[in-house]
């Protein structure tokens, strides 16, 4: 453990201090060390979006950031945003529109979609598609996901 660095971050509102090896990715730290397994690990090189988390209010890839780089940062995960009910409208819309099948991509998809909801405005379907273009879903074909997000950003049709 000669390289381990003491790292303090806030995860879903709770301050956490751990000694972390620099090689550990943020998403592995959240899953393995803190047991927050809602952030999924898919491709591990930034393509699939399953590991999307929020750092200091902005969505990032949990597999493209080292946990030690989150020192002093506020990290929010799918667990935190579910518990706070911030995601409740999107979760309800995903449920109602059948916007998931296996559910593997869903946590990352919700994190990316909520980023668009928070930006405000009434984005077009094209803009919604562009915003979730970095989140792969291999089940649904995206149509229902875009429907669900559109309903939340624009209100029911």
């Amino acid at each position: 453990m000669e390289h381990a660095r003491e790292t303090t971050l806030t995860v879903n509102g709770t301050r956490v201090t751990r000694r972390i090896e620099p090689r550990v990715h943020l998403v592995d730290f959240l899953r393995d060390e803190l047991g927050l397994t809602g952030s999924h690990i898919g491709c591990e090189h930034g393509v699939c979006g399953a590991c999307t988390v929020r750092v200091n209010g902005e969505i990032v890839r949990g597999c493209l950031m080292l946990a030690v780089q989150a020192d002093g940062c506020s990290v929010e995960t799918i667990e935190g945003l579910s518990d706070s009910k911030e995601l409740a409208p999107l979760q309800r819309a995903f449920h109602e529109h059948n916007a998931l099948q296996c559910g593997f991509c869903t946590p990352g998809m919700l994190m990316a979609a909520q980023d668009l909801v928070r930006a405000g405005g009434r984005p077009s379907r094209e803009r919604i598609r562009a915003h979730i273009s970095g989140n792969y879903c291999r089940c649904t074909g995206y149509q229902a996901i875009v429907d669900a997000i559109e309903e939340v950003v624009n209100g029911p049709r």
């Binding site: 620099p22 990715h25 591990e44 493209l64 080292l66 030690v68 780089q69």
Partner: protein, 255 residues
């Protein structure tokens, strides 16, 4: 900064900025540095400042900031357009201008923008600052003029009268098959490409041409793309011509 210079000069050291290219290559064991020097704490490298003829943009300015900065939109809109083509929102929140320029991926957007705009790359090291024109900075495949112990701290982009960035990719956010940074200033055009060689490539003949037909003819001598996994050299050359036509017509539109 002095601490960063000292660490960066050590054997096997790699600079870590946004990490959106370096960390994937670590994940895939394509890079195995002895030491990672995380420079993201050097907040003085994260600013955008007006200069006499354009903008000086710090190395740590992210794609997301370039995309939404009012100064960039007003003075160097080419960069804001290019930033929107870089990967996806979650990656644009961390990836940086300096990281992209320093890595010099031949498919990356900013190196072509820097070449088209005749930007100046600002390097700093223990012996002070060095300013390198973009045309001399990109030297080969992932190869630049950065010397051991030096950091790319900023790039200076002069304003152009008109500009447009276009690229073709298989899916939104993928690496460009071919991309073009097109600039017009005082009646002179410059077309620089990404994705058609080991470095960004200035299409010198096409840039001198006075008609689109002549430019398309010249492009065949300017570019010698090599095939990638999915596209033959002929396809890439064809697509480069498609982008040249679109860029030419965009620059020619009345404003």
């Amino acid at each position: 900064m002095p601490e960063a210079f000292e660490l960066a000069a050590r054997p096997g050291a790699r600079i870590l900025a946004g990490g959106q290219s370096l960390i994937p290559s670590l994940n895939m064991r394509l890079a195995t540095p002895e030491l990672l020097v995380d420079i993201t704490g050097l907040r003085e490298l994260a600013s955008i400042a007006r200069t006499a003829n354009g903008l000086r943009i710090g190395a740590l300015v992210t794609h997301a900031i370039l995309e939404r900065s009012p100064e960039v939109a007003e003075d160097i809109p080419l960069l804001a357009q290019a930033a929107a083509e870089v990967a996806h929102p979650a990656i644009r929140n961390r990836g940086t201008l300096g990281g992209s320029l320093a890595l010099a991926d031949p498919a990356a957007e900013y190196p072509a923008c820097a070449l088209a705009l005749e930007a100046t790359i600002v390097l700093a090291g223990p012996r002070g600052e060095r300013r390198v024109p973009a045309s001399r900075f990109f030297q080969g495949l992932f190869e630049t003029d950065i010397q051991p112990g030096e950091l790319l701290i900023a790039a200076e982009f002069p304003r152009a009268d008109r500009s447009v960035f276009l690229e073709l990719a298989r899916r939104h956010g993928d690496y460009a098959i071919v991309g073009i940074a097109a600039v017009e200033s005082k009646g002179a055009r410059r077309f620089a490409y990404c994705g058609v060689g080991a470095t960004p490539v200035l299409a010198a003949g096409a840039s001198r041409a006075t008609t689109l037909d002549a430019a398309l003819q010249a492009l065949r001598q300017d570019l010698h793309p090599v095939a990638d996994l999915y596209h033959s050299a002929a396809t890439k050359l064809h697509l480069a011509g498609v982008l040249l036509s679109r860029a030419w017509n965009t620059l020619a539109k009345p404003h």
